[in-house]
Amino acid sequence: MAALILAHHQTSPAERLKDAAAVAFIALLLGIPMIGLLTVDQGGALRIATRWPALFAFVAACFVGRLVLRYALDQWRARQLARDQADTPAKEVSLATNPLLNWIGWVALGVSVALPIVFAENRYVVDTATTVLIYVMLGWGLNVVVGLAGLLDLGYVAFYAVGAYTYGLLSTQFGWGFWSALPVAGAITASFGVLLGWPTLRLRGDYLAIVTLGFGEIIRIILVNWTELSGGPNGIASIPRPSFFGLPFKPPGDDPTFASFFGLEYATHQRIVFLYYLILVLALLTNLFVSRMRRLPIGRAWEAMREDEIACKAMGINARNVKLSAFAIGAMLGGFAGVFFAARQGFISPESFTFSESAIILAIVVLGGMGSQLGVVLASLVLVLLPELGRDFAEYRMLLFGAAMILIMIWKPGGILSHREPTLRYFANGGRR
């Protein structure tokens, strides 16, 4: 985690040392429960064993890694600065497009495409990666509302739930397939976004957060109590899995299946891998869509609304429409993720859509750096993998969460990646137009 965090300004050796020490300290704090302490089962009783050497190695690795990373970054930046100054003296360095971030993005994409091939036999890894991608997608969706439009939404899970239940009901009651239900669920959740956004138009900040939190709970409570529609606390079971262009993932039978069509041996991991690639494609489409929207007038208006609503009105921008569009688009993306979730699990119940889910998604957006697409990926990795790694400490999960949040807020108040890329430029990169 530490190795992925980037600094933004030139530093002196002393500063670098201090910075690396801070990282090592965080590594130590996080490492004590995760690496240093280990519960062992001894004759029926749980005992705690210590692994100080491993912890020490971890801390040292973080320290050295950070030092090297910082040094490399500084060298690289200094060279870039020199190049920029040779070109255009007036150019602001802080805004230079960051090729390193681009590069990390491409590497992340490469890794995520290759992952199921490398770990073909390891169902756990592919499953966990699928979970990470669901959160990435949710994070990108919520990023529209919170990161771009600046509307603090604590009830985002409501849209995730609406998407999941829409698919659950359409498929089990009316026999709809995944692909036909997807756009319908998107439209329905978008309408829910408008419906829930409407009463909050005049609210801001804390008030907005509390009302959206309430809406999230209302949706969940309706799902629990409206048994005829939602199955109540029992939820909806045996939701059909998505098929590969009409070819189901089933043991060979009368109809052609994925395995029989491609002449493969049937295996469950084919479905797991297919689901993984499906969410990967959905997430990438989401990313493409959101980054394209950000560069359109509506996206700029979202950001302007976050910066100053009154100034927006003075420029003739209809604040109501801009906010509602952010709610609708954010909700729609959450709904898509919900559809995928229902299709993957095959079973949904209100328990999957509690407030803590909203909190995790919000944490991903805030920790990642509001508005930053790559930041969301990094934060999802951290927030999904941290509890996975610390499974033995399930009770401390939330504590760990809180600690990580507080530390990052102190250390990087803008989130892991607080860099904002302008949506358009006058001076082309590195030189004049």
């Binding site: 805004l95 100034a311 009105k313």
Partner: protein, 288 residues
Amino acid sequence: MTAPAPLLSVEHLTMRFGGLLAIDDLSLDVAARKITGVIGPNGAGKTTFFNCLTGFYKPTIGSVRLNHPQRGVLRLEALASHQVARSAQVVRTFQNIRLFPQMTVLENLIVAQHNALQHASRFSLAGLLGLPAYRRAEAAAMAKAVGWLERLKLIEKADTPAGALPYGMQRRIEIARALCVDPLLLCLDEPAAGLNPRESAELNELLKHLSRDEGIAILLIEHDMSVVMNVSDHLCVLNYGRKIAEGTPAQIQKDPNVIKAYLGEEDADEMRADELRADEAIDQEAVR
């Protein structure tokens, strides 16, 4: 010679906050293509007047009529703030600068052209597909923004976040951004506040240029007399929400009511006494 119909006519405008009369029965005409100054001591109700014009406050009583050359007479007091800017093309700046600080200067100016661009993007569909009509609209918006940035000497900072720039520059950016909305009437709330003498001299030139060459009417709230007396064609003085004087800068400078409002009752008397004494001295000198 008959006077041309005013661009904006304010009639019996009154704004009450609880027991406080922030604007008291104000009537005022604003001529097209001219600079109209609004001055008055702190708390006189100048900013409140702007808020009533631009839809941020609903006046308690009174009407504000705009003679729009294409759209006919518009009642501004009935419009929402974004409609005032969009349909009536009355655009304002703020006393405490309100930019989009994290967005670049260029982005600030593009956001100001939101309505035209959003229309061209057809609910973002044409924009998402990158259709030529949208691309043309975006290029035109860019050209307009760049034009104003060049004229206001801001072009070097086009790609810098607006919030990172010095105060004087931010004032200019706010004016440039308002100009991108294509105003018929530009309402500037203390644009010279915090500017150094060189910058406020430049502001004078800019305002004159905008009204004369671009045909933009300007309503100008300003405490800096070197600006307001120099550029205004017409002046209106407010005190405790009332209009106490109106006329050309030369007339206003001599108006006893204005002197009284600015210097206070006793100071004004003292000044008159000083003048008398000076006159006497001159007389005596003449006798000698």
